[in-house]
Structure formats: C-alpha cells, structure tokens
C-alpha cells in the first residue's frame, strides 16, 4: 500500500503523467496521411492510371472524350457509393439499392407516361416513395435486430419483383419508353441528364484547345450532370461526416453501438436516416439515367448494389463499420470506372475486368485491416 501511494505521488510530477518529449512532437505529414482511410484507394487510383498510361496511352483513352466517358461510368457508381459509404460506416448494408433504381425508374416512368405528371413531380414522387421504403428497411433492421444484409436482401427481391409485375400489368411489357416526350421542355431533363458548361466547351473547341469535329463543334458537349452530382454529393457527405454532429454519430454508431447508446446517441434514428439516404441516391441514379436516355427499364440497376459496395470497400471503409470515408468511395468508384472502360481500350479480354475487381477488393480489405490494427492498437 505504501509503495502504491508513493508511486501515485511520483506520477503527479511537475509535467504530469507520461509526458516525454516524443509525445509533443508534431506528427509528420506522412504519418498523418497513413491514418487516412483514403490512402489505399488513392495509391490504387494512381497505380491504375500509370498502368493504363503504358497499356493504352495512345488509344484515345486519355482524350477528353475518353476521360468524360470514364468519369460518367464512375459517377453512376459513385453516386450510390457515397451514401453506401455513410451507411457502411454506420455498420449496415443496403442490398436493395440496385432494385430501388429499377423501382424508382418505374415510378418516374409510370407517373409521367400513364398519369401524365410533369417530370419534376414524377421524380419528386419517386424520392418520397423510395425514401419511405428506405425508412422501412431501416426500421425493420433496428426494430427486429435482423441483420440489414437479410432485411435488404428481402427488399431487393420484393422491389425488383414488384417493379416488373406492376409495369407488365399497366404497360404490357417491362420497359417504359418516351418518358421525357410528355414534358420535353422540363428543366429536370437538363438538371439530371444535361451537360454543364456547354458554352465553355464550344469556346474551347473554337480556339482548338479541345478536340472538335468538322463543323467546329466540340467532340464533348460539356460536363455531364451526373459527374457534377457525384462530386457535389461526395463533398456534401464528407462535410456531414467530418464536420457535423450527425457525422460524429455515424462514426459512433458503427464503431461501438453500446457505447454510443450509453452517451445518448440516437442510434436507431441515425440508421433509419442513412437507409433513407441510400434509397434516395438510387432514385437520383434512376432520374439521371432516364433523363439521359428517355426511357426506363425494370431491370435497370441490377447488381449495382454490389458495384457500390465494391467501390466503398476499395475506398477504405471497414465492413464492420466505424471507419471510412466518402472520398475513399469516390476514388473507389473512379478506379472501378477507369478499369471498366480502360480494359476496352487495351483491346484485351474485357471479361478480365471482374478478375481485376476481385483482386482489387481482396487487396483493399487486407490493406484496411492492417490500417485498422494500427489505428486501434495501443502504442
């Protein structure tokens, strides 16, 4: 007992417990970078671009047109991956995102062609209905305690089946065409499916800064809206996660649910909101596709939930929750889009794309596990 009291007194010294000079040293930039979840995805993306530069550098992949195409493919996955990353950081999955795309497309399509709603109202309706379904997914998960993997697996089947059967019953077949024709002047078309900065691109083509066709028009009409949505959503999600109270709660819910409850975080509410967000990003995906091509297909979005999860995992988010970033998911989607398009330019077997993805996912998870061990172990 005497020894213990002495050791207490000793540890109260002038500078306090455990203060040594190493502790007050600022961490180097490299050490700070190593703690970021995006590191793996960032180095992966750089590596992918270096590889394709050598394999397909002269094939047209790195032209403006080629890059815009890559970004468009990445953007579609990226929009889903953004909200999926938030949900996965909170420790849950949403496998119904892909089916939700088809279902939202059916709502937008039927509302505008059969019920003749203006496009804006049709899209708004889809947002409302799908957000409600997302809330139901979340509510079932937190109330029943059934893993979200199972709950959303069920809704994945239900939504796809319902979308197909509704459309067939009302429309006769499983596609809905001429959706934008009833409301051709709607600004919804350019908001979701248009190109931004068109005049800038024309101007640049006129001055021969970018590729132009024989008529002097640019080979790329502008920046597709989907890419801007993708960038904006990633920025917004990052801000919410890193700089708001809700973001703090997302980390806590996925990191340690019991602790989060003990300190008064409304765990269930956080999860339900995030399920609503994944559902709404699926609606955005559907709206973008429909406004681009003018038709909906009940099979749209098939397996997109896995593409989103792949992008999120490559982006450094832990499957067990509590750690990750939307910027990582952004880079994961970029890697996905680049490899999918780039493999075509290399004229090699495009089926190898999946082989590459599989290897990439495995490497990403191994790398993330290593990072997590570093982050959680006492030093």
């Amino acid at each position: 007992m005497g020894v213990l009291q002495e050791s207490i007194k000793a540890s109260i010294g002038p500078k306090g417990v455990g203060s040594d000079s190493a502790r007050s040293e600022r961490l180097s930039i490299l050490a700070r970078l190593l703690k970021r979840p995006e590191l793996g995805a960032l180095s992966g993306a750089i590596l992918v671009y270096i590889i394709f530069y050598f394999l397909a550098g002269s094939s047209g992949m790195f032209t403006l047109r080629g890059m815009i195409e890559i970004l468009q493919v990445s953007a579609e996955i990226g929009i889903l991956a953004t909200t999926a990353s938030l949900l996965m950081i909170a420790g849950e999955f949403d496998l119904s995102m892909g089916s939700m795309i088809g279902f939202a497309g059916v709502i937008i399509g039927l509302a505008s062609t059969v019920y003749h709603l203006p496009l804006y109202l049709a899209i708004l309706l889809a947002f409302f209905i799908c957000a409600a379904i997302g809330a139901l997914n979340g509510w079932l998960t937190v109330r029943t305690g059934v893993p979200s993997f199972i709950v959303t697996l069920a809704s994945m089947l239900i939504l796809r089946g319902e979308a197909i059967s509704e459309t067939r019953a009302i429309n006769g077949y499983t596609q809905i065409s001429k959706i934008t024709e009833g409301d051709p002047d709607s600004s919804a078309i350019s908001l979701f499916g248009g190109n931004a900065a068109q005049s800038v691109f024309s101007w640049m083509a006129h001055h021969h800064w970018i590729d132009a066709n024989e008529a002097g028009d640019p080979s790329v009409g502008g920046i597709p809206a989907s890419i801007l949505w993708w960038v904006a959503l990633t920025a917004l999600a990052t801000w919410v996660l890193m700089r708001t109270r809700f973001g703090n709660w997302i980390f806590a819910v996925g990191g340690d649910k019991t602790s989060a409850i003990n300190v008064g975080v409304p765990v269930n509410r956080v999860k339900v909101v995030l399920f609503m967000l994944t559902a709404m990003s699926a609606v955005l995906f559907a709206a973008i596709q429909i406004m681009q091509v003018g038709s909906a297909d009940t099979l749209r979005g098939t397996q997109k939930e896995f593409d989103a999860i792949i992008a999120v995992v490559i982006g450094g988010t832990l499957l067990t929750g509590g750690y990750g970033s939307p910027i990582g998911a952004f880079l994961g989607a970029l890697i996905y889009g680049t490899v999918q398009m780039g493999i075509v330019y290399t004229r090699s077997d495009a089926d190898r794309f999946k082989v590459f993805l599989g290897v990439m996912v495995l490497l990403a998870v191994l790398f993330n596990n290593y990072i997590r061990r570093r982050a959680t172990q006492a030093r």
Partner: protein, 254 residues
C-alpha cells in the same frame, strides 16, 4: 458536511430475489467512498440503482436532502451523477476529441450550417486532460491507441467536464497494470480535490485503501457497516468481505 447523494434504507428485489436489503449509503462532496465486497455481494446493484438503471423497490433516493425519483440514467445524469462504466462508453476508432464530446457535440453556426467546432473542442480536451496531468500527443488520435489507464482517465475527465458532482467508478482499476492503476487513482484524488463526491467500487483492497476516506462493506446484499479511514484494518475488511470466513479456513480444509 451534508451528503450529495444518499440511499436511505433501500431494498431492491428482482422477482423473488432480494439483491439489496435495507442499505444505507451516502457520499459527501470532496470524499472518496469505497464500496467493497466480493463478487455477488450487490456492488453492481448499488451502482445501477445510483445510476438510474434500476429503480429502487423500497426506501428513499435522496439528492441534496430531498427525496427524488430517479428512473433513468438520463435523470441521474441531469442531477450530476455520472457513472463511468467498465466498458467505458468509448468508441475505439474515434478520435479523443470526438469521443470526449460524443452525444454532446460542440457546434457553431445555426440550423443547416451548424457544424462541429473542432479547433475549440481540441483546445478544451487538451486543457482538461493537462489540467489533470495527462499529456496527450494529439487530440485527433484514436482512442484505440490509448492505454487502458488513459482511456479510464479520459472517461472520468469527460464526466467531470460535463458537470458531474458525483462520480461512480465501477472497477476502474481492475483491468489495469500497477502503473496504469496508479494513474487512475491519482486522478481520483484530483477529482476529490475539486470537491466531487467519488463512489469507488473495487475488490482490490490495496487500491481502495490508497484513496478511500470511508469504506462500506457489502455482503450478500446487506451492509456490514461503514467505517472511516483508520477505523478498520485491511485484514478486518478481508474478513467481512469473505463472509466471516477467513482465508485460513481454506488451509484447514486442504
């Protein structure tokens, strides 16, 4: 000095099982009151009653001289009674600052633009911890990189910062090594100096005797008396905790 919190003649039963019987217990500002007992003696029940997890079956829960109804952990917290649980209520993958303010985030701005005030939060955390003699490298490092003792201290510092008047520490030193335990005990001394009432639950008598002002001994749900420091020796405590049987009887049996 009048006690901050008192349990008067409190009983708690779960169905037909009587977990606490006619217990009197109180803590005054600026004292460390140790609750000692073997496993199953009812220590956890006392904590949970004080923390508002369990509602008492009989008797009175008194705060500042008036009987109150504490029906949830939240209401106990509102009265300034904070419990630092064994599982700590910390998220290992989150930073020190984020953990410190978790559930009570420090924000600036209004409405949609309400955002975390990271710089100020970091400043407060570093200030609070260094005020208690803990020097941290970087408030943005994850709690997972802290040692058990440092985590325990962080949890206590958090409770103190958010206005706790009574700290309930449930086995804060049980999973710690000698050096780490001494850090936590030192911290308990600091809290007492600040005028907090500390309820310290332990079955490590050495730790209890290092910081305790009073000792209440529990055995099978009943109090075996409350003693001031110096009124009782460690051997006597051990004797009561073991239910009247001394450890020598084991030797006789063997």
């Amino acid at each position: 000095m009048s006690p901050i919190v008192e349990l008067r003649n409190v009983s708690k039963s779960f169905g037909s099982v009587l977990a606490l019987k006619d217990l009197d217990f109180d803590v005054e500002p600026g004292e460390v009151h140790c609750l000692l007992g073997d496993n199953g003696a009812g220590k956890s029940t006392v904590i949970k009653v004080l923390a508002g997890v369990h509602v008492i079956s009989k008797g009175e829960y008194v705060i500042d001289g008036t009987a109150v109804c504490i029906s949830s952990p939240r209401s106990a917290l509102d009265h300034g009674i904070a419990t630092v649980y064994q599982d700590l209520a910390m998220v290992p993958l989150l930073s020190i600052t984020r953990n410190f303010f978790l559930g009570r985030e420090l924000t600036k701005g209004r409405g949609l633009f309400s955002r975390l005030d990271v710089a100020k939060a970091n400043e407060i955390v570093v200030g609070q911890l260094s005020g208690m003699g803990i020097d941290i490298r970087d408030p943005s490092q994850t709690v997972g990189t802290l040692s058990g003792g440092e985590r325990q201290c962080l949890a206590i510092a958090r409770a103190v910062y958010f206005g706790a008047r009574v700290l309930i520490l449930d086995e804060p030193t049980s999973a710690l090594g000698v050096h780490q335990a001494s850090i936590v005990l030192k911290y308990i001394v600091q809290a007492r100096k600040r005028g907090l009432g500390v309820i310290f639950i332990s079955h490590n008598i050495n730790h209890a005797f290092a910081v305790g002002d009073r000792f209440t001994l529990l055995n099978r749900g009943t109090s075996k008396g409350t003693y001031r420091r110096g009124e009782i020796s460690r051997d006597q405590v051990l004797h009561v905790m073991a239910g009247g049987e001394s450890l020598e009887t084991v030797d006789e049996d063997a």
